[in-house]
Symmetry: C2
Subunit: 202 residues, 2 copies
Amino acid sequence: MRYPRRVPRSGAEARRRLQQAALELYRERGFDQTTTAEIAARAGVNERTFFRHFPDKREVLFDGEADLRAALARAVAEAPADLQPLEILLFAFRKVERILEDNRPFAEPRLHVIAVTPALRERDLAKTASITEAVAEALRRRGVTDRLAGLAAHTGWAAFHQAIQSWIDDSSQSLDAHLLQAFDDLRALSATAPPAQARPGD
Amino acid sequence: MRYPRRVPRSGAEARRRLQQAALELYRERGFDQTTTAEIAARAGVNERTFFRHFPDKREVLFDGEADLRAALARAVAEAPADLQPLEILLFAFRKVERILEDNRPFAEPRLHVIAVTPALRERDLAKTASITEAVAEALRRRGVTDRLAGLAAHTGWAAFHQAIQSWIDDSSQSLDAHLLQAFDDLRALSATAPPAQARPGD
DNA sequence: CTACTTAGTGCCAGTCACTGACGTAACGCG
DNA sequence: CGCGTTACGTCAGTGACTGGCACTAAGTAG
C-alpha cells in the first residue's frame, strides 16, 4: 500500500519519484552509503522496478543527457553556413543554454553530488564524451575535416564546461555571459598557440 | 601448490601476474564475461589477493597512469620560461612520448580491450581527466591564469589524444610526428576562432 | 638458533549491485 | 465484458567487493 492508488500507473511517474528519491538520499547520506533498496522504498516501489527504469545506480542522475546531445547536434546542423567551426559551436551552445537554465533547481544539487562522488564523476565524463563525439560528428556532416572536428568539439566543450562551472559558482551573471567570456578566453589562448614547426616527416 | 615455491613472495610478482592474466582473459572472452575469481586462478593466487593489489576489476588495466601524470606535471614545470601555455604543453608531451612508445607491446592490446568495453572506457576517461587536471595545476604554478590553465590543458590533451589515435592507426610515422601534426591542426583551428563579442554584462 | 616483526597471502562470511523468470494487477480497446 | 499490453511485485540467483582472522615466508635483533 506504499503506492498511492490515485496515481495512474504511468511509468513516468515512478521514474520521476525514483530520480527525486535518489537525489535526496545521495545528498543526505552520500552515494556509497545509499542502497538501491532504500531509493526504491522512498519512491514507494519495488527495488526491481528501479532497475527497470535505470540500468544502474548511477544512471538515475543522468537522465536527459540524450536530449542535450540531440539538441546540440541539431543546433550545429542548423547554424549559419558561413561560420567557422568554433563559431558554429558558440552558436550551438547559446541555443541550448535554456535547457540548463530552466533545469537549475534540479541541476544544482545534482552537480554537487556528482562533484563529491568519484563514481558519479566517472559517469559524467562518459556522458560528456558521448556529447562531444556527437558534436564532432555533426561538424563533420557540415564538411569540417575529420581531425579538426574532434579537436574543435573538445575545445569548444572545454569552454562550455568552463562556463557552466563559472555560472554555478557565480550566478550573478547569466550562463550566456559566462559562455561568451569562456570563448573570449579561448580566443586569447589561440593567440598564444605555438608556431608551426618543421616535422621530421616533411 | 599453485604458487611456485621458487618465486620469492614479493608482491610485485603477483601483481604483474594478475595484470597479465586479466589482460589475457579480457581479450579472450571479454571484460564482462570474466570473473575476478578466474583472473586470480590464472595468476595462481586467491581472489582476495586480487583486491589487495587493485581496488576493483577495472583498475588492473590502469596501472602506471600515475607515473604518466607525474611525468607530465614535471615536464610542464621544467619547460623553458619564455614559452606560451600551448608551447609548454607541446614541450611536455614530446618529453613523455618515450613512456608510451616503449610500452607499445602492452599498450596496444590494452587500448583495444578498453575501446570495446564501455566500463573500461569510462575509467579511461576518468584517468584522462585526472591527468588533465594535474597538467592544468602545473600550468597554474607557472603563473598561467586559472581559467586559461584548464582550457589549455583540455585543448592540449585533445591534441595529444588525437596524436595517439593517429599513431595507433598509422604506425608508419613516429608518435612525435603525429603529435606535431596535431598541434599544427590546433593552430589551424585557432586561426578560425570566433571574434570577440560584446557581452551583455559589459 | 630463537624470538620478534612485517608483509603478503588464504580462507570465510557477509553486503549489495544487478539479472532472469514468473506471476499479477492496472490500464486501453473492441 | 473479455483480452492483450504494460508496469509492477516477488523470488532466487550471480558476482564484485569488504572485513576479520589465521598462517606463512621472509628479514632482523639478540
